[in-house]
Symmetry: C2
Subunit: 316 residues, 2 copies
């Protein structure tokens, strides 16, 4: 089975690792995850996966990005729009238009609201929902986290932050919302009351811009291939937009994984965030005792506890 830990930013910094054997010590967060029982892993429905294929890179390498969409009750109208935009082929032949360092990569129709537009904006399909700002958060989880959700405190941005159904969320006053961690995918919008349709998307490629929480709809996260976006040249225009249209990266196709032939469907699973292993993993992220570390931090913010996600064997 191929393991692919989401955002595997957990290894030590030691170049001398090559030359030295690690001293004995407690397991690392990754080692804890590797020991999880098979039943602690939850398969992600192919209906919840998007496969975005960029034009090959300068050396001809394939560039594929896999995005997991958020489950209900989060951002449902926008997620429905994104499936509709995907299935109508609307995302095919758009481009990555903006790369702002330590912030976001954004993709969409370069002719949409762009003074440098070279042509007509692409017409949107019928049937898109118009969402209200209230949808940036939900009260469907009730007034508190479920008994088995893993909570993280303190959080400078909310009364409470925790993991629900494998996702990082925060809550206050009976409302819960997804949070802007690295790799999360959101919906670009104009000024209020515009909430965006889903035609313009971005992903976070820097320190968590949590000030965007509750101000924009989050709809998913990149679970594979983010390096094809985060490693793109930064745009030199305002907000990181490319001034030179030739710098944009073409997006060839976007497909819902369940619409692909079965043999081509990528299969992923995430570590249940209600399980015992996730609790041990999160504790170890907050208190590193594996050999490289001297002083355990004594805490971690929710975005420094990435949910482990891996490809499963069938999809290789």
């Amino acid at each position: 089975m191929t393991k692919h830990i989401f955002l595997a930013a957990v290894a030590s910094l030691a170049a001398p690792l090559f030359a030295q054997d690690a001293p004995d010590g407690s397991p690392s967060p990754n080692e804890i995850v590797e020991q999880a029982d098979a039943e602690e892993w939850v398969q992600i429905a192919p209906e919840d996966l998007l496969v975005m294929t960029l034009a090959p890179d300068a050396e001809g390498n394939v560039r594929e990005v896999v995005i997991q969409l958020m489950p209900a009750p989060f951002s449902k109208g926008w997620v429905d729009n994104i499936r509709l935009l995907t299935r109508s082929g609307w995302y095919d032949d758009i481009s990555v238009n903006r790369v702002q360092d330590n912030y976001v990569v954004q993709w969409g129709d370069s002719n949409y609201d762009n003074p440098e537009a070279e042509g007509e904006a692409k017409p949107l399909p019928d049937g898109l929902k118009v969402m209200e700002e209230r949808g940036y958060s939900t009260n469907d989880l009730g007034s508190a986290l479920a008994m088995n959700d893993f909570a993280v405190t303190p959080d400078p941005y909310a009364e409470l932050s925790f993991f629900n159904q494998g996702w990082p969320v925060a809550a206050e006053a009976e409302r819960t919302w997804p949070v802007h961690c690295y790799g999360m995918v959101g919906v670009g919008r104009g000024y209020s009351p515009d909430t965006g349709s889903g035609a313009e998307l971005y992903t976070v490629i820097g320190h968590a811009p949590r000030h965007l929480d509750r101000n924009i709809a989050l709809v998913g996260r990149v679970i594979e291939g983010i390096e094809h976006l985060s490693g793109l040249p930064r745009g030199k225009g305002a907000l990181g937009f490319y001034e030179d249209p030739a710098k944009r990266t073409p997006i060839l196709t976007v497909r819902v994984a369940s619409d692909l032939p079965e043999a081509q469907q990528p299969l992923f699973e995430y570590l249940a965030t209600e399980g015992e292993t996730f609790a041990r993993y999160a504790e170890a992220r907050a208190n590193r005792r594996d050999p490289f570390f001297i002083v355990p931090a004594g805490g971690a913010d929710i975005c420094n506890i990435p949910v482990p996600i891996r490809r499963t064997a069938l999809s290789e």
Copy 2:
């Protein structure tokens, strides 16, 4: 005067910005900074700046990275080593060997402790200090922050975090240490008790890996040109090391800015973190009320309040 705000991740996400005039509203954090009096800006001594020149990119563009070294009492022995390594030419003709997504870019001698080494490791200059782990933090600031330091709470990683002399730091039990925010530069090391010499350096290119605080020496931050590092292709080997030596980016030279001819010395200044403007800026980062925002967050973590830094006119 050319303004260059460090890590300017403060603008809105709205593509429609192009087509819409912003509604009236409170000033953005950047606008607050632009209104600061001249005397709130503090010049950075050229002795504290390193200019690192990478090989030109594939299109022949110059790639220059400017690093600001930390002031006393932080990491002084390592910072001394780094000036010595620079002035002895040791960093010339080394390379960027590791790019791990959402974590770090690391540079040094690719023949150092590397099983794929193609040659002998480069001998280090005489006079390097051997530092102790206790040096990862300092008690020279006393038992608490100064009256005029700007504090940030809560912090999941420390009792207190605040800005001192323009730098993000955290404190606990009479000890204070610099923190791993985006763009901070640190010293690679092996297993304890090794503390690294400064010959192997890294910078953070993802969500703040605060679990490294007090476990590695932080020595500075990238204040210009980080996109030349953060936009590099990710390494495919363990920890993001390049498996193919041809993927490494050559570092041509590193110079202390004060050793350059005066006309070539880059000049930068930072917004005093003890001043009134910084307090207003930090408050606005925590509570965005500029036109794009609907819900102010009510807080911010210390790494989401980047210290404003800009080039001054003479250096253009």
